[in-house]
Symmetry: C2
Subunit: 225 residues, 2 copies
């Protein structure tokens, strides 16, 4: 009975890793659709969000079922609670990718990102891809040392976020208020995306080490503005 139980927990972990793959793919396509003003690609991200939400619902149902069927011991319970939180974060990361795709769709056939900010958003897209792929490895391997990599990538994202503000607020900005509003929200979506990756990595560390999960607010964004 306990073995069946642990097989079920392994399946939940596999589903979470699969979610990171889908989220990584969604985020890559969202960034590409944004930079290339590719409407079809944007639509594929928006339509694909349901598949991510569906796995999140499945994870929740599975966690619910394994807890109801068998009295979980403390460690298993910590895994179940962590899985619920991680799945909620991944679902939200999928939403953020869809938001970026919606912004691309809204400005089509123009690009929502003016030429001056293309390198910044290209870099944000690359960091987003790396951070969610690293998060998948953290979930799959429970390798606590990799959580530090996730934190470093988040710092790089924060730096890019500040770079975006500097560009928009500099006297050379010539794309007006509407474009400033667009890129402010877009940059915020990338920044929140990386924050969620950090939250997930911290959860995995908590499960692996038993150290109490420190409640942190990774968004020092406004302080750094």
């Amino acid at each position: 009975m306990r073995e069946v139980y642990h097989e079920q927990l392994d399946r939940v972990s596999d589903d979470l890793v699969e979610m990171t793959r889908l989220v990584a793919s969604a985020m890559n396509r969202a960034t590409q659709s944004l930079l290339d003003a590719d409407l079809q690609l944007a639509e594929s991200v928006i339509a694909g969000d349901d598949a991510i939400d569906a796995i999140a619902s499945k994870v929740e149902a599975d966690c619910f079922q394994v807890s109801a069927r068998q009295q979980p011991v403390a460690t298993d319970l910590r895994i179940v609670v962590a899985a619920l939180r991680i799945s909620a974060s991944l679902e939200r990361m999928g939403d953020l990718a869809a938001h970026i795709a919606k912004s691309a769709r809204m400005r089509y056939p123009a690009s929502a990102v003016p030429a001056q900010l293309r390198p910044t958003f290209q870099a944000m897209g690359a960091v987003a891809q790396n951070v969610v792929s690293k998060t998948g490895s953290v979930i799959a391997t429970k390798d606590v040392s990799m959580a530090a990599d996730v934190a470093r990538m988040d710092e790089e994202m924060d730096r890019l976020h500040r770079e975006m503000f500097q560009t928009v607020l500099s006297p050379t900005w010539e794309f007006g208020v509407e474009s400033a509003v667009d890129v402010t929200l877009l940059s915020r979506f990338y920044e929140r995306f990386a924050d969620h990756a950090v939250t997930i990595a911290k959860r995995v560390v908590y499960v692996a080490t038993g150290e109490p999960y420190a409640t942190v607010d990774p968004e020092a964004m406004l302080d750094n503005l």
Copy 2:
């Protein structure tokens, strides 16, 4: 034994209601500090966020403990899972109030909200107060009919969010790019605040009715821009 268990679940519910009170107070003070450029009030919100996070940690620990001590039946398990999610949302709402206070602090002694947008942000503050207080009532009473009120308030918040965009993007906007960036992020914080209230209300409905929780994305913000 089961009675002790249910007493513990009641205590969790009381803690969640207490969180809504603290979040409501934080959000009121944050709005006031923003509109009045009141540094002391802003600092009180930022410092007070720890108290909200502390209850969230307590709720998580209590949920963990009651599940470990006693095999929960399906309904109780649903309550535990919902409590974890609700507490995460309330913690995030506290963060958003702190973000608003940080924005007020950053622009002090000026106000981050230009005169033209004061009525919009005043209305957002009022809706935020109403929506979290109504959410507290939903948690306390499990009255499913009140969840519809929360959804209506969220729609009103979305309308104010669109109103902010219209003001910023109109030809009469004379406060420049920096102010546009400020109010875009601020308005986004209020809008997300109301989204979380809707998520909480839906969770309570799910527990009360057993109807599967529909995964929704209440942020049609970019579509409505």
